[in-house]
């Protein structure tokens, strides 16, 4: 599925997840900025970006900083 990238929606979602996981707000802000930078870089190198691509890029980037954060982002829709 083709995805329109909206930085604010992703940022909002990641902020909620980070707070839900009790990640300190400063660290969370840092992680989220790094993730969004990686997403922007990926967008520039591609003509289309699917939902799956976006999820994979974000998960891969989050995995570098916090495994719980990455796990929840990846598995959120696999809980129920």
């Amino acid at each position: 599925m083709k995805q329109n990238f909206d930085e604010n929606i992703i940022r909002k979602q990641l902020v909620i997840d980070a707070k839900g996981l009790d990640i300190p707000s400063g660290a969370a802000e840092l992680f989220i900025n790094k993730v969004l930078q990686a997403v922007k870089a990926a967008i520039q190198s591609k003509t289309t970006l699917t939902n799956h691509d976006l999820k994979r890029i974000i998960t891969k980037e989050l995995q570098k900083y916090n495994s719980d954060f990455a796990y929840i982002y990846k598995n959120r829709d696999k809980i129920i």
Binding site: L21, Y71, I72
Partner: protein, 233 residues
């Protein structure tokens, strides 16, 4: 002996209800999002409203089924009871097989048998909860998708309660553990969140215990079917 049999059947039925995955999954997601958006006090209030919703719907459901069972027992007596026992046994055997093959979807998560569109709707609802009335309603509706697996159990529990005639009205007090049972996994989850665990830890343990849950539920359905057909048939 009859009372002991009834209590055993009720205990096994309640054990299966405790092992259900949908409602705790909804609650865990709900608590995670509330914790991410609101203060600790508001999160606690919303979580309590959710549990109260589950408690209320369990109470209503059990009272409805109990009154229906009383009417059934009064007007149809023995002949229909035999049909009821055979039908229930067949249903339990079907559920034992369904639990093994259909309760969980294939994959590395804990995706359940419900349609993906329904799951998405629940997720959207969870994300947009703002006040206690929303949380209460979510608690009420979160019992519905699992009724396919739990409704026969509620019916069996009520049927066994009505059989314990010599304990009446004390038998009615058996309703209390039956009403509390669906809320037990939620209270445990709430305690785990309060003890510092997060959704990632909880989901990992749910995935880890998936096979165990599947086997225990299926065996419990089988045991229940055997008990009912051998002792009530």
């Amino acid at each position: 002996m009859s009372i002991l049999t009834s209590l055993t059947i009720i205990a096994i039925a309640l054990l299966i209800i405790v092992f259900m995955y949908f409602m705790p999954g909804v609650f865990a997601l709900f608590y995670h999002y509330c914790h991410g958006k609101y203060s600790k006090t508001k999160t606690k209030r919303l979580a309590n409203a959710f549990i109260l919703g589950v408690f209320t719907i369990s109470l209503c459901l059990l009272l409805l089924i109990l009154s229906s069972t009383f009417i059934f027992n009064t007007y149809f007596k023995k002949a229909a009871t035999n049909y009821f026992v055979w039908a229930t046994t067949g249903l339990l055997l079907a559920l034992a097989v369904s639990t093994i093959f259909f309760y969980f979807r294939q994959g590395d998560g804990t995706e359940l048998f419900i349609s993906r569109k329904t799951a998405d709707r629940y997720l959207t609802h969870i994300k947009t909860i703002k006040d206690t009335s929303d949380a209460f309603c979510l608690g009420i509706v979160s019992i519905i998708p699992e009724l396919l697996f739990t409704l026969p159990l509620y019916i069996i529990v009520c049927y066994e309660i009505t059989r314990i005639n010599n304990l009446y009205p004390a038998g009615i007090f058996l309703l209390v553990p039956c009403i509390i049972t669906p809320t037990i996994p939620l209270v445990i989850l709430q305690t785990r969140f309060k003890c510092g665990q997060n959704l990632a830890n909880i989901q990992r343990s749910r995935v880890h215990n998936k096979l165990f849950t599947r086997i225990v539920m299926s065996i419990s359905y089988l045991v229940l079917a055997v008990l009912i057909i051998s002792l009530r048939g």
